[in-house]
């Protein structure tokens, strides 16, 4: 998922409290002789230390964790061909790109006894129709976080194009997500490939730009929370935490036009050296207790349905974290739109940025 | 031609002498000025008057306070006490850039980023009417120091002597009422130094402005100065004409500093008018002429000084008819200097004495042998009486 925990925040934490994840990653040596290891390349916050430690205690496999902040970083690392990771966590459409470039290998579901615990709603999606390459991990939506006192209750993307909100809007600094907003307002799919439609969506974003205060994919929740904007286009995870902190003031909506359903999934790189360990780890994460423990710590919706029984009710019942089926139905998962369309989108986005 | 132009052009500027100035004969009056650096009294309540148009030197060893005093006159150093009066107006609280004096620095302090012309013209813009004809004024000043044609050179392209001249021109172009010079020849070699001494003296005569010159070189001070103030440990020991300081040092320090190191310890036997008769430690009696004779009391311990060149040495004792004072000595050392020979001898009291003898004829002094006996004699008028301690 694109929950890029703000680089700034991460460093602040590293300085103030010592960043646990980074600490272990650097203190544990790569592969001690004889010892089994697993090298994971992951978003920050996804795999808390105690979960990793418990896995090591149970199996003797040491988990080395390295962090990244964007799918681009992940792509770059794997494309460079010099990485030695055994597990990575790309987002939906990135899975498709990796698959197309033969950078990931099949996951053997038969070796994962807990595979049956996976949420069927997340399976068979376009990026991996046969569930051969990816195991959904966390998932969520992209919507609007808003300041209830300033804009009231809202349910449409159109507020982001409304003159009266000029200078109070934050948009994700993400070409696909921003285009998705414009496409949804136009009533199109977020995976639209018609150049004319995409260009039209691009024009909308260019016209919208003068209303936008800032493009930010890192700490959009804080920017909204501290009053610098009243509308923040963003991922549900961070915004849900803000909403939970003050429900009278803040709200989160997945607009009625439909939105992005994002799924971050585990993949095993084609050059992975510890494939057996990777399977063992995936099976461990799909354990009901472990899955619940994970969700209770990170507050993201999990692909592990069997874990539900152990998840705190305030998380399970929070619609910003676990949306209703009806909301899920109106959402789309981002697909790999192909090289040509990707190139066009890059170009359109560049124009928006330059405007 | 060039010389003519400069004379014509400079003359009205530098010889200007408004009537008002004449009423006040003093160019600079320093009244009870003091300056401490931490525990050290650099200048210890000094008072002196510098006359209009004179070449005045502050002479003393390094650390005696002469440069500090000069910098205080320039306004570059703030005093702890006392007043400085220039041309009748008290400038004690006036900052350096508003004082009608200019300083020539020891290391020249030329602006390295400006060429000669711009260096010299630097101060003109701060003088009323200074910017008018500045180009001509700069040329005239450069002519004055005989440095025409180097206007576009930069300081790092000049020799030491040339830099010195630029520094002079830069100060003189402002037509200061007083020119202060802080060991300006110190950075030059011996030959150039001698030339510049003469040239500076000529310049001062020609321009008629007051020069206050700081030096540690007694010969330089004697060559150039009208009057000299000899300083020691922040105080003025003696202030007199050059000849007077040389011939009649008033304190042992001045005597020594002026090269008269022959001190004789003695006791006063009697005082009669201006004549003081003393018995030297070496056993002989001599009568001395002392202007302040009544100050001495019989039995008082005193010293007298005779300059090395005032002593005459012979193998035999002069006849009694000779009115000169005399004493027997032992010859210890001889240093041949070409023009003269310097002898070191010792008298019965063990006092060491230098004798300076002009080598008038070839082979002079060959009659004296090491550790042999000899006689010194001198005109009593050349012996200077002074108290054991400083006054």
């Amino acid at each position: 998922m694109r929950m890029k925990f703000a680089a700034v925040g991460m460093l602040v934490m590293a300085v103030l409290g010592g960043c646990k994840d980074k600490g272990t990653a650097s203190t544990q040596p790569g592969s001690a002789q004889g010892a089994r290891v697993l090298n994971v390349y992951c978003w920050s916050e996804y795999l808390p230390q105690d979960v990793r430690d418990a896995f090591t205690a149970k199996t003797g496999i040491k988990v080395n964790l390295t962090l990244y902040e964007s799918n681009e970083m992940l792509l770059d690392k794997l494309q460079s061909g010099v990485s030695d990771f055994d597990l990575v966590v790309p987002s939906d459409y990135t899975v498709a790109i990796l698959k197309r470039q033969n950078l990931v290998q099949r996951i053997d579901a038969s070796k994962i006894a807990n595979w049956k615990n996976l949420d069927p709603r997340l399976l068979g999606r376009a990026y991996d129709p046969k569930n051969e390459y990816a195991m959904p991990c966390f998932w969520g939506t992209t919507g609007i976080g808003f300041n209830r006192q300033a804009v009231g209750d809202i349910d449409s993307w159109k507020v982001l194009f409304d003159e009266k909100n000029a200078g109070k809007i934050l948009m994700l600094k993400d070409s696909r997500e921003c285009l998705a907003v414009a496409l949804k307002v136009m009533g199109k799919s977020i995976n639209e490939t018609d150049p004319a439609v995409l260009r039209q969506a691009g024009e909308m974003l260019k016209n919208q730009k003068r209303l936008v205060k800032v493009y930010n994919s890192d700490d959009f929740d804080q920017t909204l929370g501290r009053g610098d904007v009243v509308l923040a286009h963003g991922f549900n995870g961070q915004l849900a935490k803000l909403v939970a902190s003050d429900r009278a003031k803040f709200g989160y909506t997945v607009p009625k036009e439909g939105a992005t359903l994002w799924i971050d999934a585990f993949c095993i790189p084609a050059k992975a050296k510890h494939v057996a360990e990777a399977h063992e780890f995936l099976n461990y994460l799909l354990d009901p207790q472990v899955g619940a423990q994970l969700v209770n710590q990170v507050s993201y919706a999990s692909g592990n349905v069997a874990a539900r029984a152990g998840i705190k009710p305030e998380i399970l019942n929070d619609p910003s974290i676990y949306p209703s089926d009806e909301v899920i139905k109106r959402c789309e998962v981002m697909a790999d739109v192909g090289d040509q369309t990707t190139e066009l989108i890059d170009k359109i986005w560049q124009e928006v940025m330059l405007k | 031609m060039v010389e003519n132009f400069s004379t014509v052009y400079i003359a009205p500027c530098f010889s200007e002498n408004p009537a008002g100035f004449m009423e006040n004969p003093f160019s600079i009056r320093v009244v009870g000025v003091a300056k401490r650096f931490g525990d050290v009294a650099a200048v210890d309540h000094v008072s002196l008057d510098i006359r209009r148009g004179e070449f005045f030197s502050l002479l003393g060893p390094s650390g005696c306070g002469k440069t500090t005093l000069l910098r205080m006159i320039a306004g570059l150093e703030e005093g702890d006490a006392g007043n400085i009066i220039i041309d009748g107006s008290d400038v004690t609280r006036v900052p350096a850039h508003r004082r009608p004096v200019n300083l020539v620095f020891q290391q020249f302090a030329l602006f390295p980023h400006l060429n000669v012309e711009k260096n010299v013209a630097f101060g003109l813009r701060y003088k009323s009417g200074g910017k008018r004809d500045s180009h001509k004024k700069v040329s005239a000043a450069l002519d004055l120091v005989r440095l025409s044609g180097l206007q576009h050179r930069y300081p790092d392209e000049l020799s030491g002597g040339q830099k010195q001249r630029v520094a002079l021109a830069r100060a003189l172009v402002l037509e200061p009422r007083v020119l202060l010079l802080d060991e300006p020849l110190g950075a030059l070699d011996q030959k150039l130094r001698k030339e510049m001494q003469v040239e500076l003296k000529h310049l001062q005569r020609r321009l008629g402005i007051t020069f206050v010159f700081v030096t540690h070189d007694q010969e330089e001070a004697l060559t150039m100065s009208d009057r000299i103030a000899v300083m020691n440990a922040g105080k003025v020991e003696q202030m007199d004409s050059a000849a007077e300081v040389f011939e009649h040092p008033s304190t042992p320090f001045v005597a020594e500093f002026m090269g008269a190191g022959n001190f004789f310890t003695a006791k006063v036997r009697e005082v009669d008018g201006a004549i003081v008769t003393v018995i030297s430690k070496a056993g002989f009696e001599t009568a001395l002429l002392a202007p302040n004779a009544p100050n001495y009391r019989p039995g008082e311990k005193v010293r007298f000084v005779v300059r090395p060149e005032k002593l005459e040495m012979s193998l035999t004792e002069p006849p009694p008819a000779d009115a000169r004072a005399r004493m027997e000595v032992t010859v210890e050392e001889r240093v041949y200097q070409g023009v003269a020979t310097v002898w070191t001898v010792r008298n019965r009291a063990g006092e060491r004495i230098h004798v300076y003898q002009q080598n008038v004829i070839h082979g002079a002094g060959e009659q004296f042998v090491d550790m042999g006996k000899a006689w010194l004699c001198w005109d009593p008028r050349n012996a200077i009486l002074m108290r054991e301690q400083k006054a």
Binding site: A7, V8, G9, L11, V12, V15, E72, M73, L75, D76, Q79, I97, G167, M171, S175, K209, R210, V212, K213, V214, Y215, R226, G227, D228, D339, T342, E343, D346, W349, Q350, E351, M353, L354, K355 | A74, G75, L76, A96, H97, R98, V101, N102, F105, Q107, A109, L110, F111, P112, H113, L114, N115, F122, G123, Y126, K127, H152, Y154, R170, A171, L174
Partner: protein, 292 residues
């Protein structure tokens, strides 16, 4: 003789190695990539026909694109922000350096120098994050303004915020060379100027400034170049319209390395050109003076 030449060469070798590995090689690689075409998903397209590639001018495509008028706004913004940053750093840095070098006593001098350097102990990102906390709507500054009855100002996500961040970040690089040149300045020149009638202001502009010109130029170079290529400051403190050349290069570099390399190289070239022009101007002025 031959031995001597070899020794000289060996003595210079480490310098050349360091320069080559850390400076020239990356530049050369970047220049090379800038002439290529991008392939799908961040790859670089292989060249099919080198002759055609050159004769048809394909290798200049990225430069052509980067000079498209649509980039003008970003270039202009980057330029004026870099120049304004440099000017402000000089304006603020000079008095600070002057105080440390000339006015402060030796003990305080060391303390102040340490204070100038202390920010380097903390990551630049964190310090920019701190500025965000200061400038935001409910931030430190607005809280203070509120205490004296001034309504909150819109400061974060403005060009002013970017300028503040840039000046803050680059200031030490201006202060340190200025300090060094002020420290070694011959103070008797100031006394000479005072003696010649120059007041404090005049002394400053006619002696101190020319005497510290080397420090000023070093400071300008050290500030202008990084300021022109900055992207962290504008990313964190800049608003929707705050993108600088640095951001354009950095964002999506992975997916279009050739174009971004071309822009980066242009940036390097422009800054280099600016410095060259300035150097030439100084040289000319000096020569003109000498020829007068």
């Amino acid at each position: 003789m031959k031995n001597g030449a070899l020794r000289t060469w060996l003595q210079l070798l480490p310098t050349w190695l360091v320069l080559g590995i850390f400076f020239l090689a990356p530049m050369a690689i970047m220049l090379g990539i800038s002439f290529r075409e991008k392939g799908p998903a961040g790859t670089i397209k292989p060249i099919d026909d080198m002759k055609q590639y050159i004769t048809k001018g394909t290798f200049l495509n990225n430069y052509r694109e980067s000079l498209d008028p649509s980039y003008a706004g970003v270039y202009w913004r980057s330029l004026w922000l870099a120049v304004a940053t440099t000017a402000l750093c000089l304006l603020i840095g000079y008095p600070v350096a002057y105080y440390i070098a000339i006015v402060a006593n030796p003990m305080r001098k060391n303390l102040l120098l340490a204070m100038v350097a202390i920010p380097f102990w903390t990551s630049f990102l964190i310090r920019m994050g701190a500025w965000k906390l200061i400038l935001e709507t409910q931030g430190v500054l607005n809280t203070m303004l509120g205490a004296v009855g001034i309504a909150p100002l819109d400061m974060l996500y403005t060009p002013g915020a970017v300028l503040t961040g840039l000046v803050y970040g680059e200031l030490p690089f201006m202060i340190l060379p200025l300090y060094a040149s002020l420290e070694k300045m011959d103070r008797t020149l100031l006394e000479a100027a005072a003696d010649l009638g120059a007041g404090a202001t005049s002394r400053f502009f006619r002696v101190t400034v020319p005497q510290t010109m080397s420090g000023i130029i070093a400071g300008i170079v050290l500030v202008l170049i990084p300021a022109a290529g900055q992207f962290v400051v504008s990313d964190i403190l800049g608003g929707a319209k705050g993108a600088l050349v640095g951001n354009i290069i950095q964002e999506g570099f992975q997916r279009n390395k050739p174009l971004k390399s071309a822009i980066a190289f242009e940036l390097t070239a422009v800054v280099g050109l600016m410095l060259a022009v300035y150097g030439l101007y100084l040289h000319r002025r000096r020569r003109k003076e000498a020829a007068l």
